[in-house]
Symmetry: C5
Subunit: 355 residues, 5 copies
């Protein structure tokens, strides 16, 4: 029990605010830096070993995307932060992986924190933090570890697919966010399947031992995904409505498109929640119905046979003077009486619609 | 189980945003294009085989309605999109049939996505996407497949019924939306009947095996319809309040009328929801009540006969020395005692109001 | 079942929007028109047979109230509509009796739809639609059938009671709305009594067969009344805040008074709702409590007598070799044992607080 | 049942709006008028028999507080209303004791309706209406009956305690409202104690017959208090934010203080509500748990002894040919079997954790 | 029972508003005053015995933090209040420890009330009030008793860590609030662990006697923490958005950071609440499931053996004429019949899936 409890918050308490401390768990991550510097006609992709190598791009006219994996390399992050004049609180936020998705608009750049969502091998939802900084002609992205959802963006940059090379850094930011949001659909769909599985299971009466656990885990998953996706509504809406100099009018339509996706995802999550509640209600009703059925069987059996057993008990008594015992047809009469009682009871239960 | 799961979202992931990909399932649909070009006095209705045939209408003064069925004909849709200068994201939205109803206002046109609702043969609700583009003197509509709710609009155009030919494209758009909303009433009414059927069933005690399934299906239907109708409140309200040059002041009153309808429909849906919840609560209560009744019967029978059987059991014992067995009137006294116990019990249950 | 289902919506579908079609059921209603034309000092009350007779009042300085009963007289309503320049959609709304209460402000008049509420002979709530048009120096009212809540207004007009003759048409509108709202109090009070009856019934344990039905009917009534009253909050608030030329500053205070009434009524309805939910919760608890009590009786009886019966059964066996059967005091010892078991059980149940 | 139903609303229906009709029940109340006329240095306290005696204060520079008890004295209230130029609707509101707390701002005065709350001898919550009119240099208060919460204000006026004599009529109004709100704390605390009593009772298992009634009464009390306190949030907030000439900037800070109190009270009420819901949930759970326990006892007893009794029944049969009956050790073997069955059952229940 | 009830509110009732009365319970607290007076290069830390010693700092250019522990020293608090020109209502609020967190903006200072949260030795949550006054170049803090969460701030001041000595009093205020909020994380985490413990307990079926009590206590804790943390959202948001001269633009970013923390904490609290509700639902379901299982065992046993016992009872009767008793193989046939009945029953239950 002790192990799984998170203790990341504690790391921070008592520290100077603005102190740059990595709060995640991937401390063995290797530093990986890549850069894409492109214009409409040219592209220059590099894998860097040294953070300083990217500094020259700041002053060029071309658009630059610098992606850094490995938030445990505090020094490198500080260097790049200083070079791009990022506010110390931004650096703190980048390496603090327990952030909520958010947007901060500064005069010279826009800072966005998102969460990538995917299922790991054990079918657990994992969320990984991505920080994006949009500057004049650059986008910086910071990720905790290798492996991300940006491969389609990379391909489009390399092959000059679509408009990506023609439009500036604000479109690049859009493309990156869109890639993150696209992956939410996969997660959403998997959760939808889980809800449908639950439904099938309940209707087929397959009540597994761990049904409650399964429902609770699904609810937790929904809460987790909700927490990741819902703040995005406000974030994208603020990008869309902001008149920040970095967001060109032409690009806003694209952000509106993301906004529509987010709303659709939020709707779906709410529907899943409601479905689960309905299913649980249904489950309670079906338990009660089953109990009722069990009780009916018991009551019918007991109510029919208890009086009959009593009658049999009477004539099992050993009194010296029990005249009925000696009549010739007593036994047959008794059987007749018992059958009458039996049929009467059956009729009674039939009328009560218990049968 | 595997089959029914939707996988349409996946098609999109990893694609260039703005890529025009049909996400529906009706890939065998034939292309069908019709056009209505009219002024107050003239009307020209055509069924086209070639999308280019409609291009000439763009520059005329007359109002034109072009309706395209068959979203799988990407090329034709792109052609018309280019001819009318539609934003690539709009084309993407038109063919992506998993859109949420929405409105996008561009400088030169207004783009609206709606869902038509109807019941298919199996009494399942089907929703089909309609995209409408309102331009200066034209309205374009895009549907997934043949068969729609616009026949009344066609008739009014042909017969110059009402104001439809006198007013411009914004009134045509209104007439089309109104036709869609009118059909929501039919769906709403059918759902209302289902809720009333459920109520009747519960009160008549007809508890079918699949009641839970029926309730869940109804809830899902409500969720589905809600998802289609609720966004319309905002959409119509935005048309009403917008000061877009394409919406003339004279027409706004008509949109306000649709708005009232939508509010009324939303109200009804919420009432149905609440009714279902009340019915389910009632159902739980009635299950519990029935259980109580069953338990009472069992308890009364058991409580009366178990002690009597015990007494009979006593005098069925074979001890050599049981003086009562040999008295002459023991048997009759015993009967008297038993009847007294029986009556006492009855009196007790009577006082407890269990009988 | 089929009969009671409403089909009024269908009448409309496929019609030209703005078509004036009476959707109510009182098609045998006779046309009734009355007019009150008054100034501070004079009053002229007329019962008209011909709608054209009222047309002359339009141009006079005096204030005029024209009341029309009988929405099935489409022609007459169209005539008056044309004479007073009412928008076609207003005429459509007047005769469509399934409207939601609403307000529409036009340049030259204000159009309001309200619902009158009363109980019919069978104690069912009936709502009847009233449409009110406030013009420069006139108020038009349209009702479905004879019999209304405006008699007090008529009396005050005739007897020049209060301010009604001194102030203009906006005060007349206020007086009419106030008369409608006053009647809501009666309905509200009746519902309050029903809730209290329910409460009394539950506490006295009088659980009638049809309790569930009664609760459901009450909930439906509340929903119905809510639907009628709640939209009024916005309607009156819009009158109060509007700066429409027809609403004079002096009259606004009176509308604010109605607004207070509506808020109070809404509060009460919400409290009733909450009370019903609390009562149903309480009912469930009391059912469970009763079940518990029943089960205790069963368990006590069964638990005491089943072991005793077993013991008696043992000594009713017919084995040749059962030494106990032949001892002289066996029978008495057995009784002692049984009584001990009996008392032990009693003590056990006492300690468990089941007795 | 009939008696306790309120019928006060009916008095009003059909009356001219603005008619001044006392709707309370204290029609035998004697008229009581008192006045405090003060400046920073002087104070003049009077008990009046004649309403006209206070009229002279209107024109003086000094601040005047006139308190009138006895809303059944319509004439006197009308006289004072006319003298101070109060709107007829205000007079109507003053004597209509079923008002909701509210504020009306007029050009020359502010009109506030509050409810005083206290427990009567039978521990029922009583709410009494107070109307306050703040004018240029006067405050009028109207109460239904003798006895109020203003004694502390009177004392402070007499003894010139605190700032009350230095500041004008707006501070006097604050002091009066503050006195009303202070008494809400007492009521709130009593209700808090009731909730805690309920909690103690449930945990100690003391389940009284009338628990349900007690919970329902507490819920009703909360609803009643809520209805009195919640509207105050808006009322005070409007005073605070209003720029009415009668509210001086210096006094606003004091109103903000009341506002904080009201928020705190509202919070507490909501917490009590939530506590009661939690307690009732807990109660349901504990009923179910108890039922479970009862059922277990029954099941254990029945399951152990029913098979044993069956075995005993077998050997109580009177067949001529039952070889077991004649073996010498049959009886002992049977006992061994029975004990084995008994122990087996015990083991089974142990493993199921029912014991 | 009586003892634990709070009576602090009563102290206030009937007092002059603005009277400065300590409402807490720590009346034996000793007065403790400390001051930090610093510039970028110098720092002067003092422990004072006399409140007047700090007065000289008011006029210096340096930033001063004065911390006062011991709210029962009314006189000292009044002295400092007068020296710093604090509004009497602020002094009242400082010593009234039952305040809700709030912010009041005055022209020359900002007044904030917060609650520090920590667990005491008995694992109960304790909240202690801190009042903060931000002035031109000073911050005053008032605490109820010794021991606080500000040690990290003290250290940073002494060691000139971070920016704290370079920035003015608004940054100092931020650092103090941040220290308070940091401690909320610890409390939040402990509550999270309690929720997880509850979950583990329920899944392991360890149903302790006092589970209900534990759940209720946890719910109360959540309510308490919620009440402390939620108002902070508005408070910090108002600091962030205010354009008070005391809050410099440079510092606002830091307050936004606190705001993010508060939102995150609020989210977590809401998730805990939801988790508890889900867990309790699950608990109810599992109780019902267990009941079902118990009932099934009972029903199976009773249904199998009651008819068999009846048959045995039949042949235990003592009628003279019962032919079956005398056939040679009757006994064996009977066994066969009984076994058949037994197996039939088993088959029936198997088919019903009760086994």
């Amino acid at each position: 029990m002790g192990k799984k409890r998170t203790t990341k918050y504690k790391k921070h308490i008592g520290q100077v605010p603005g102190a740059i401390i990595y709060t995640g768990e991937k401390t063995a991550q290797k530093l990986f830096i890549e850069s894409f510097d492109y214009t409409e006609t040219t592209i220059n992709e590099q894998e860097l070993t040294n953070i300083e190598d990217v500094f020259s791009y700041k002053s060029t006219e071309s658009t630059t995307w610098i992606n850094i994996n490995g938030l445990n390399y505090i020094d490198e992050i500080e260097k790049i932060g200083n070079h791009y004049d990022l506010h110390p609180l931004i650096l703190e936020d980048i390496v603090n992986t327990s952030q909520r998705p958010k947007i901060d608009e500064y005069e010279d750049y826009i800072f966005i924190i998102l969460k990538m969502l995917y299922y790991d091998k054990d079918e657990n939802i994992v969320s990984e933090q991505v920080s994006l900084v949009l500057g004049d002609n650059y986008v910086l992205t910071f990720q905790e570890s290798e492996g991300d959802v940006f491969d389609t963006v990379r391909d489009r940059l390399r092959q000059a697919k679509g408009r990506i090379r023609n439009l500036g850094s604000d479109y690049l930011l859009y493309a990156l966010i869109d890639a993150v949001v696209d992956h939410y659909y996969i997660v959403n769909e998997t959760m939808g399947n889980k809800v449908e599985d639950l439904e099938d299971m309940l209707f087929e009466g397959v009540i597994k031992e761990n049904l409650n656990k399964q429902v609770l885990d699904l609810k937790k998953e929904l809460l987790k995904v909700r927490r990741v996706i819902f703040p995005l509504r406000e974030i994208i809406s603020r990008v869309e409505k902001s008149d920040h100099k970095l967001i060109k009018k032409k690009t806003i339509q694209f952000y509106r498109d993301i906004y529509d996706h987010i709303i659709q995802l939020s709707d779906t999550i709410d529907i899943y929640r409601e479905m689960i509640f309905s299913l649980m209600d249904m489950y309670m009703t079906s338990i009660s119905n089953k109990m009722n059925e069990v009780m009916k069987v018991l009551t019918i059996m007991a109510t029919i046979f208890i009086p009959l057993t009593f009658i049999a008990g009477i004539y099992g008594m050993n009194f010296d003077h029990m005249p009925e015992l000696h009549y010739q047809y007593s036994y047959y009469i008794l059987w007749a009486v018992m059958i009458a009682v039996f049929l009467g009871m059956l009729y009674y239960f039939k009328r009560k619609k218990w049968l």
